[in-house]
């Protein structure tokens, strides 16, 4: 559902800067929107995280995916069933950077004989890893535009990434991988019936949006060259809060930039908050020290219970007859 609608939205999002450049609105596109979008992004994320954080975690509910710590002669799993802060950190690192849980994925198939087979299915994991890591490295590479001298980390990534470049043309591997990753995520969403059935317009929209960003970026880099010096001038002026808009950077750049702005502004209010959400997810970020250390529920309130006295009141007679000791001698 919503594939068409999402595509339409992307077309509109591309048309806006295209027409904008025609109308001479470079300042709005190059300065106002980026500032606006970036502010929404930062404030929005903070707002959402604070909003989540305002709700307490009343119970300690980690999903335990390994042996608990009990006897010292039974080997506990200190990461998948952590009891220390360090263990929790390791678990989170595995989840955040390597998508540990997604790596467990398999596929159920019921054979003709009625047996259930659990089929190897790490493609989703692979595509997600390719996409996220490439996207991440691409973002790091972009930092070059914002600083007079390229920071070492950025050039390190550039060198790794551009390893396959040849001659005059540099070629970044991540540009290819990000597209492959995205394409797989989109295709599986369309062809796997179960995923397609539940997918919403929002699910397609982000995929199209990021693809739009990737394609416009690739176009700009390898085909319709934009004025890179001009772009850098604009970028640096933006971070210095003294915005200058160089002339004639090219509409392709403004399309790229506008889509990025759209992503930034959309981010905090969408499922893209899943990254920050993982950090706060109680089933993953809590230690299973459940019986070792009392967890406090800030809103714990007294409830109506059935006391022993009430129980004895009702059953005292039969209890006595059965020879059970009573509190009240009657």
């Amino acid at each position: 559902m919503g594939v068409g609608f999402s595509l339409l939205m992307i077309v509109l999002l591309v048309l806006i800067p295209f027409l904008g450049v025609y109308a001479g609105l470079e300042y709005v596109l190059g300065v106002v929107f980026p500032y606006l979008a970036f502010s929404i992004f930062i404030i929005g994320i903070l707002y959402r995280i604070i909003c989540w954080g305002r709700s307490p975690v009343p119970f300690r509910i980690p999903t335990t995916c390994g042996q608990q710590k009990s006897h010292d002669w039974i080997k506990a799993d200190p990461v998948e069933n952590p009891t220390t802060a360090f263990g929790v950190i390791l678990r989170m690192v595995k989840e955040l950077f390597f998508f540990r849980s997604l790596f467990r994925n398999n596929k159920v198939k019921i054979t003709e004989k009625g047996h259930i087979a659990y089929i190897w299915e790490k493609w989703l994991w692979l595509a997600a890893i390719l996409f996220h890591w490439s996207f991440f490295i691409i973002i790091i590479r972009h930092l070059r535009l914002f600083t007079p001298k390229t920071p070492w980390l950025v050039s390190f990534f550039e060198r790794m990434d551009g390893f396959f470049g040849f001659g005059m043309y540099s070629f970044y591997f991540t540009d290819l991988l990000v597209v492959i990753g995205l394409a797989y995520l989109l295709i599986r969403r369309l062809v796997i019936p179960m995923v397609r059935y539940v997918s919403l317009a929002a699910d397609y929209f982000v995929l199209f949006l990021i693809m739009g960003i990737a394609f416009s970026g690739i176009l700009m880099k390898y085909f319709v060259r934009a004025d890179v010096a001009g772009v850098k001038e604009l970028a640096m002026s933006l971070v210095a809060f003294k915005p200058v808009v160089p002339v004639d950077i090219g509409s392709i750049f403004y399309i790229h930039l506008f889509l990025v702005c759209a992503l930034l502004a959309y981010f905090p209010f969408s499922k893209l908050m899943h990254g920050p959400g993982l950090l706060l997810s109680p089933t993953r970020n809590m230690a299973n020290t459940n019986r070792m250390k009392r967890h406090i529920n800030p809103w714990n309130y007294p409830v109506k219970v059935h006391t022993y006295e009430e129980y004895e009141e009702e059953f005292g007679k039969v209890m006595q007859a059965a020879g059970l000791p009573l509190d009240k001698q009657s």
Binding site: P56, S101, P193, V198, R291, L324
Partner: protein, 540 residues
């Protein structure tokens, strides 16, 4: 049972999705797939809202006048109280990794049993009411209006989730549909929409002390009969005490273990073990239920029932609590009890009086799992065991959802099993430990009216048992859960005839060579089945 299709035609081999979107997809209260509505007398007994006679098949559910308001206010309140709920409402990317991880989806093929769609049933309302996009864009943003039809749908599908948490193991963000189900059921409860089976058990447990409502004198009688059985089999008279002040340990087992076959054999195993090691323990008739169906109603109800454990431990002045083999009981004990009803500062850190082992992992809650206790005894060579007495069994072990995914107790029961029987085979890797499959009857769904769905939900578990049955001739499915002991036998009869179900301490009881038995030779196991092969040469 008559309307239940034969096992070979129940489950379809392909997962087909409907053409039309799911927002208003019809569903039907078909016999065998839903739970009966709650009887008003339980509402009255437990001070729950909206007591009335109703059935899910009724057109009019007689919801309170302002039901919408109640429900939305309830949701608002819970969003403010549970960070888990807020995050789980917001971060699902609908990647579908959880889709075919749910036993109910595998067994029914019903798309709304895919965990992410189950969650969307609630999420769509959340979006409509609490997000801008949902308010403005409606369906396009995945938002739905709250109607009575939605309430019915929730009742149907949130009582087709056993809160087993398998989906949460596979979700990249740890989204736990069980948590969503727990809260959705709470919301339904605000309208007086509960299942009869659960509320009946809860109200019995609240007033009488256990699910089936066995009064104190009958408990004594029942357990006395089990002692007679033990005496017949071993020649040893064990003498458990009840409600005894000053005992060192309070032992709490799920009531299923003393009133229903085959749980009773497990209970006999406990009693024999305690007798053998001379444990100074008492049972309680007031806290005669380890299980806690309150968990399947609401957090509050869970707390109301659970309160008895600490209250009784305090009243009796015991040093610590030992808990029997039960699944959801241990979810409550491990994840909720201390927080809800603690601190247990009137108890001491549990120390095994036999081995001197201090159970450091329970130093706050002060309640030890019986397999932790027994494995420690075996490790320290405190028990004389003759595993040959279990030779007629080829055993496999079912990790119950709650001890597995809310605790991580995997090795303790296995260690015991490997010491008390000689034929042990694991089921396939994707179906055990943290990836274990539910019995299909958990979370208060183990009633007769739900039988078809239980057989569907139990299909993946049964299928794995079938695998080891065909490969190794497995004929005994062991577990550490009383609900399993009630739910798995019909499941096995349906899918894998020839496999019986037992608790780990039944196997232990069989193998345990008691000092007081002297030279007497056991002729039968705890089930009264002859021990032919072992014959006279069982002393080791």
């Amino acid at each position: 049972m008559s309307s239940l299709p034969k096992a070979d035609s129940l489950v379809s081999k392909k997962f087909k999705m409907p053409k039309k979107n799911w927002f208003n997809a019809p569903f039907e209260f078909k016999k065998g797939t839903y739970n009966y509505g709650s009887n008003p007398k339980h509402h009255v007994a437990l001070d729950l809202p909206n007591p009335r006679n109703w059935s899910p098949e009724d057109q009019d559910w007689q919801l309170p006048e302002n039901w919408k308001e109640i429900l939305l206010e309830g949701l608002r309140e819970r969003l403010d109280k549970y960070r888990s709920l807020k995050i789980f409402m917001d971060v699902c990317v609908r990647c579908g990794a959880c889709a075919d991880k749910c036993h109910f989806f595998i067994g029914s093929g019903d798309p709304k049993n895919m965990p992410f769609l189950r969650a969307e049933l609630l999420r769509s309302i959340y979006r409509r009411e609490y997000t801008k996009a949902g308010k403005i864009m409606g369906k396009l943003a995945g938002a739905r209006d709250l109607t009575e039809e939605v309430v019915k749908e929730w009742f149907y599908y949130f009582f087709q989730c056993t809160e087993c948490r398998r989906c949460s193991v596979f979700c990249p963000f740890g989204i736990d549909t069980a948590e969503i189900t727990i809260i959705a059921r709470e919301l339904l409860g605000l309208l007086g929409v509960n299942t009869d089976w659960t509320l009946a058990s809860v109200s019995n447990c609240f007033r009488v002390g256990n699910h089936v409502g066995i009064p104190p004198h009958a408990i004594v009688d029942t357990i006395d009969m089990l002692c007679d059985d033990i005496e017949d089999i071993t020649g040893v008279r064990v003498n458990p005490t009840f409600n005894r002040k000053g005992a060192e340990v309070l032992f709490i087992a799920p009531s299923g273990d003393f009133f229903a076959d085959p749980g009773i054999y497990t209970f006999m195993g406990y009693l024999m073990l305690f007798h053998e090691i001379g444990l100074d323990y008492t049972l309680s008739t007031y806290a005669s239920e380890g299980g806690n169906f309150g968990l399947f109603v609401s957090h509050e109800m869970m707390k109301r029932l659970n309160a008895k454990m600490y209250a009784e431990a305090k009243r009796l002045g015991v040093k610590w609590i030992l808990g029997g083999e039960c699944g959801h009981m241990w979810r409550v004990v491990n994840q909720y009890m201390d927080t809800m009803n603690g601190p247990a500062d009137f108890l001491e850190v549990p120390v095994s009086p036999i081995t001197g082992t201090r159970f450091e992992n329970t130093k706050s809650t002060k309640m030890v799992h019986i397999t932790e206790f027994t494995s420690d005894l075996i490790k320290h060579n405190k028990l004389k065991l003759d595993p040959r007495r279990n030779d007629q069994y080829k055993v496999t072990f079912h990790d119950s959802c709650n001890p597995a995914r809310a605790m991580g107790i995997f090795e303790e029961p296995r260690y015991i099993i490997k010491n008390v029987c000689r034929n042990f085979y694991e089921m396939p890797e994707n179906t055990i430990r943290e990836k274990t499959f539910c019995c299909g009857s958990g979370s208060g769904l183990n009633n007769d009216e739900f039988l078809e769905m239980r057989m569907r939900g139990g299909f993946p578990r049964a299928n794995a048992v079938k695998y080891v049955q065909e490969k190794h001739g497995v004929n005994m499915l062991s577990c550490i859960c009383a609900l399993d002991r009630a739910a798995l036998p019909p499941l096995m009869d349906y899918w894998v005839p020839g496999v019986e179900v037992c608790g780990v301490h039944e196997l232990l009881g069989n193998a345990l060579v008691m000092k007081d038995e002297g030279d007497r030779v056991r002729e039968t196991n705890l089930r009264g089945e002859p021990l032919e092969e072992v014959g006279g040469e069982q002393d080791v």
